[in-house]
């Protein structure tokens, strides 16, 4: 018994770990700045290199115990483990978090033990707790000062250099594309202003879904009829071919009810059928607990 219980606990733990690992695969390195002279400042008022991590999932992810490294060949040699026990390591759905690559981990959870090197390629890897690589990026050496290297869209797209202009803005701790409208809605508003397109598409889908269901159950019904014919043939000791001549549809509810009533009349055979109602007088001993006299109020008279 104990062994079974242990096995069950192990299986549950393994399942939950797999679930956790699966969630963390949705983490993405989203934007990086190596030389920061005039941009975003940390809680101490200092500027420095930063790495933005994005949760591409639609549920929160706890990134405690994931690793950041800048050494592709030997990640262990230059590893920063995100501490356990800080509630801020839980990233909300589709949200971002910034790590300061300032080599000062004593400043807090989001300050790494390594620094990024200006003027040379910087490889950054994001590892899960089991040291499996989740995501990585090489930031080019020629990245200008105060420019970021970012994905064109959160968690997706090509990497591009952003210098902070009107169209290539730098977005630490926020979405790489600032959306002020829902693209789907504006598309429908512009391309289908009277709703014909939506009506045609949606009705086709609704009809398809129910038509598929209809055909499926038509088929299942035919199979059901076939098997009932087989059973009928077996019960009557006839060939299946002979039975096929008898239309199963003739066994309507009305006919069955008439046959049953005739049998009932002929055999007077009823005792335990659920359709027979028997009314017996039930006597119960008086108890003040069930007495209506002691009810809080009388029932209304209609």
């Amino acid at each position: 018994m104990k062994r079974k219980l242990s096995l069950l606990i192990v299986a549950l733990m393994a399942t939950s770990l797999v679930g956790l690992a699966h969630d963390r695969k949705a983490l993405r390195i989203n934007e990086v700045m190596v030389v920061n002279d005039s941009g975003y400042v940390d809680d101490y008022g200092n500027r420095g290199a930063w790495i933005e991590i994005f949760n591409a999932n639609f549920s929160p992810i706890d990134i405690s115990s994931v690793f950041l490294s800048t050494n592709k060949e030997k990640p262990e040699s230059c590893l920063y483990a995100v501490p356990i026990g800080d509630q801020l390591t839980k990233i909300g759905k589709r949200q971002h978090v910034i790590f300061w690559a300032d080599g000062q981990p004593n400043k807090g959870t989001f300050h790494t033990s390594f620094k990024l090197t200006p003027g040379s390629d910087n490889w950054i890897g994001l590892y899960d707790a089991d040291m499996s690589l989740i995501d990585s990026i090489t930031v080019p050496a020629n990245l200008p000062a105060n420019a970021s290297f970012a994905r064109s869209e959160d968690g997706l797209g090509e990497w591009e250099v952003r210098t902070g202009g009107d169209k290539d803005y730098i977005t630490p701790s926020s979405a790489n594309i600032i959306k002020d409208t829902n693209k789907k809605i504006t598309d429908f508003k512009e391309k289908d202003p009277n709703g014909f397109g939506m009506t045609i598409m949606a009705m086709c889908i609704v009809f398809t879904a129910l038509l598929v269901l209809c055909l499926c159950f038509y088929g299942i019904g035919q199979i059901g009829k076939y098997f009932s014919r087989v059973r009928k043939a077996e019960a009557q000791g006839l060939d299946l071919d002979t039975t096929q001549l008898v239309d199963i549809q003739h066994d309507s509810g009305e006919e069955i009810a008439a046959i049953v009533m005739a049998l009932h009349e002929h055999l007077n055979a009823h005792d335990t059928e659920s359709t027979v109602l028997t009314i017996n007088k039930v006597k119960r001993a008086y108890s003040p607990w069930s007495s209506k006299i002691y009810s809080l109020r009388e029932l209304p008279h209609k």
Binding site: P193, G195, T199, C216, F217, G221, I248
Partner: protein
């Protein structure tokens, strides 16, 4: 000094009372709430829905000082009403109601005559007809989608979709959907008479074949997989609907089916109705948009009922004489289970006292539930 202290406290108390904070809109909404309660008790129009909604309107429109920080209003985060309202705003009450509907519904009529499913699909024209009119009235596509779902005649679906697409319109949409569902016996019969001939109303349909237990068990499993593979965004509603039905039909979870169809549904209906009613605060509800929503809701019901009836007439052109469908069951393609099926039956009996259409009408009726959930999934997929 003490007199001044007492006066200032009493003055402050007066400022907290409903009398000091009442506005004209509050009294209008209180009158609406009382009207709903009257409709439910005196006219017996959907009392299970209109009593909680009506009383919820009263609760939601008792005026109070919103600046006092009492945390009592339904829109004040952390208040008791706000916590209860989370089931509506986050959209988890409707799937629970669908679980109960699934556990209550016998899909036999549909399984025995699967072609009736298409009537349930045709009636969804009401949704998209209203969508087009809503766009013409200047609503944005997401708002138009949320309003149009009223045509599905399914309160939980309307609440679910509007909570996702247009949360600010949810109160008006929910109240409109439930109002028109209560008024189905008034709206549908004239349309059914208008679009059918006397000869068509007398069509007698063959009794449906008996459906085996295995078919009843397969239906929710296959139904869920097929419909949700086509429209995964309908998963919360369709998944729970078919799950409830499996609990009912599998024969080994009778207790769960009973709980889902009775206690659970009752609890969620009470909470959903009351909080939807309470969400109709005058400041949010009494707007020109609400009038437009009620108008669009009415249109959606008319189009849905008419398209169901007209589709049956069209369908009959392709069916042999012995398999013709009585178009009086076409109205049941809008959900409103089982009210619209009862209307088909009553109208059928009016023209032929021995023509019982109830079980035939239950086919399109439950297909309408599936169809409106699929339509909601489509709108959610396109517009969310």
């Amino acid at each position: 000094m003490e007199g001044e202290f007492l006066t200032s406290n009493l003055q402050r108390f007066w400022e907290l009372t409903g009398f000091a904070n009442a506005e004209f809109g509050n009294f209008v909404m209180l009158a609406v709430g009382l009207f709903f309660i009257w409709l439910a008790i005196k006219k017996n129009f959907e009392p299970m829905l209109l009593v909680p909604i009506g009383f919820g309107i009263l609760i939601g429109n008792v005026p109070f000082n919103t600046g006092a920080g009492l945390e009592i209003g339904i829109y004040e985060e952390g208040s008791v009403l706000n916590i209860l309202y989370n089931g509506v705003s986050a959209g988890w009450y409707p799937p629970l109601i669908f679980l109960g509907i699934g556990a209550m519904t016998d899909f036999s009529a549909l399984i025995a005559n699967p072609k009736l499913m298409l009537i349930g699909a045709a009636a969804q024209f009401g949704i998209f007809g209203a969508y087009m009119v809503a766009l013409a009235l200047g609503f944005m596509p997401d708002q138009a989608g949320a309003i149009a779902i009223i045509g599905g005649a399914d309160g939980p679906t309307a609440i679910f979709l509007s909570s996702k697409l247009a949360p600010n319109l949810m109160g008006a949409i929910a109240v409109s959907a439930y109002s028109y569902m209560a008024l189905v016996p008034v709206i549908q019969p004239p349309l059914m008479r208008l679009f059918t001939t006397k000869k068509e109303r007398l069509i007698r349909m063959k009794p449906a074949r008996a459906v085996s237990q295995n078919e009843k068990i397969i239906f929710p499993i296959v139904g869920m997989l097929l419909t949700c593979f086509v429209v995964p965004s309908g998963l919360p509603l369709l998944g729970m609907l078919f799950f409830g039905n499996l609990l009912r039909e599998c024969g080994v979870t009778t207790r769960l089916a009973k709980t889902a169809s009775n206690a659970l549904t009752d609890i969620v209906t009470i909470l959903l109705g009351m909080t939807v009613g309470a969400s109709t605060q005058a400041s949010q509800f009494l707007t020109p948009e609400t009038i437009a929503i009620f108008f669009l809701g009415f249109m959606a019901f008319v189009i849905a009922s008419s398209s169901g009836v007209l589709f049956v007439k069209l369908f009959n052109l392709f069916l042999p004489k012995a398999k013709k469908i009585n178009p009086l069951i076409g109205n049941a393609g809008v959900s409103a289970v089982p009210m619209s099926a009862r209307i088909s039956n009553n109208l059928g009996l009016e023209y032929d006292p021995q023509n019982y259409l109830l079980m035939h009408a239950m086919g399109p009726n439950v297909a309408g539930v599936i169809g409106s959930a699929v339509a909601a999934g489509v709108l959610l997929g396109f517009l969310a």
